[in-house]
């Protein structure tokens, strides 16, 4: 799977290559699980990874790759984690596409525009929480496994907001870097676009880079 990385000047080309390969595996697993949940073949289009300071996130949301997602009504499923690795992972969809995904997950008919696309029942919210829980656990859990670190999760949360009136919440502590991952999932019958954000503290990113270095030393001596 091709992968685009931007803004990771702090990494050497070998480190970048190792990180790309690692992300390919994590995303492949997450896409495979989404395919299972949606009961359809899912094509994972070119994901992008960007490492930058959290203070730049607001601007990045307005960049071209995210403009289609961050427009109007949005639903997000998030999972905070702590212990040896700290951060937050968040899955964001336009409400319409989130509703389609929930329908696929529950084996329901795909709703029509006139059926009240914006209406998320308690059951829909519960399903969206589980979809986020499973996908984000796969991505974050594979970080933890690679780094041989134990993380403890908070309960998953589902939130609705209208962009740009309300913006998604991310940790804003000093020193937070964001590992920003954008994915586009294409389903057979319809196209669902979503964004995955993984926010790691600087300490956690340092652990990740140190582990990549160890793997490279093992490989190349």
């Amino acid at each position: 799977m091709p992968m685009l990385l931007r803004g990771i000047e702090m990494l050497s080309s070998l480190q970048r290559d190792a990180l790309k390969e690692f992300m390919n595996v994590s995303f492949g697993q997450a896409a495979s699980l989404l395919s299972e949940m949606a009961g359809q073949k899912i094509k994972l289009t070119i994901p992008e990874i960007e490492l930058s300071h959290i203070s730049l996130l607001g601007k990045k949301i307005e960049d071209e790759p995210f403009a289609n997602i961050f427009k109007g009504h949005i639903v997000s499923s998030s999972l905070a984690f702590g212990n040896e690795l700290k951060g937050k992972a968040q899955l964001v969809f336009p409400v319409k596409e989130g509703k389609i995904l929930v329908s696929l997950f529950m084996g329901d008919e795909i709703p029509l525009e006139d059926d009240g696309f914006m209406d998320f029942s308690d059951t829909d919210i519960d399903a969206m929480k589980e979809i986020g829980n499973i996908m984000l656990n796969t991505i974050v859990g594979s970080f933890a496994n690679l780094l041989d670190k134990q993380i403890i999760y908070s309960l998953p949360e589902v939130e609705f907001f209208h962009y740009p009136d309300h913006q998604p919440k991310f940790p804003h502590e000093t020193g937070h870097y964001i590992l920003l991952i954008r994915t586009t999932f294409s389903l057979v019958k319809t196209k669902i676009e979503g964004v995955v954000f993984v926010v790691l503290t600087m300490d956690s990113i340092s652990i990740l880079i140190k582990k990549i270095d160890e793997m490279l030393v093992e490989l190349y001596g």
């Binding site: 519960d126 399903a127 589980e130 829980n133 656990n137 796969t138 496994n145 134990q150 993380i151 309960l155």
Partner: protein, 122 residues
């Protein structure tokens, strides 16, 4: 045979039972929406098998597992963990606590067949 399903997601409780019924149609399914309710139902109903999530409000799956094993360490009741958490630390932890089997979400027909085999003792 009584099977207790403990998960804070109503959607997931429904999915688990829907898949399992195909392999264990005669079983009586009991559900709990969090760890505390699950623990109370376990004490009251003494199910032959319990399927349980880990990350739940109030009592976590690990805490319920400790309570069950603390009450009857040598009990034959099977405790199957069904979780989205893929960490090897988590798997090691719950296996050490006495879980019979750990399976990662999402549930599927194939995974339900595995769970049914564990419950039937195959």
């Amino acid at each position: 045979m009584k099977i207790l399903v403990i998960d804070d997601s109503a959607v997931y409780r429904t999915q688990i039972i829907k898949f399992l019924r195909e392999f264990l149609p005669e079983a009586e399914y009991i559900t709990a929406h969090d760890g505390a309710e699950g623990w109370n139902l376990y004490k009251k109903e003494r199910p032959e098998a319990t399927l349980m999530d880990l990350l739940m409000p109030g009592l976590s799956g690990q805490e319920v597992l400790k309570l069950i094993k603390g009450m009857e360490a040598k009990a034959k009741a099977k405790i199957i963990i069904l979780t989205a958490d893929i960490q090897k630390y988590t798997r090691d932890e719950v296996e050490e606590l006495g879980a019979t089997k750990v399976i990662n979400k999402p549930i599927s027909r194939e995974k339900a067949a595995q769970i049914a085999d564990v419950i039937k003792g195959d």
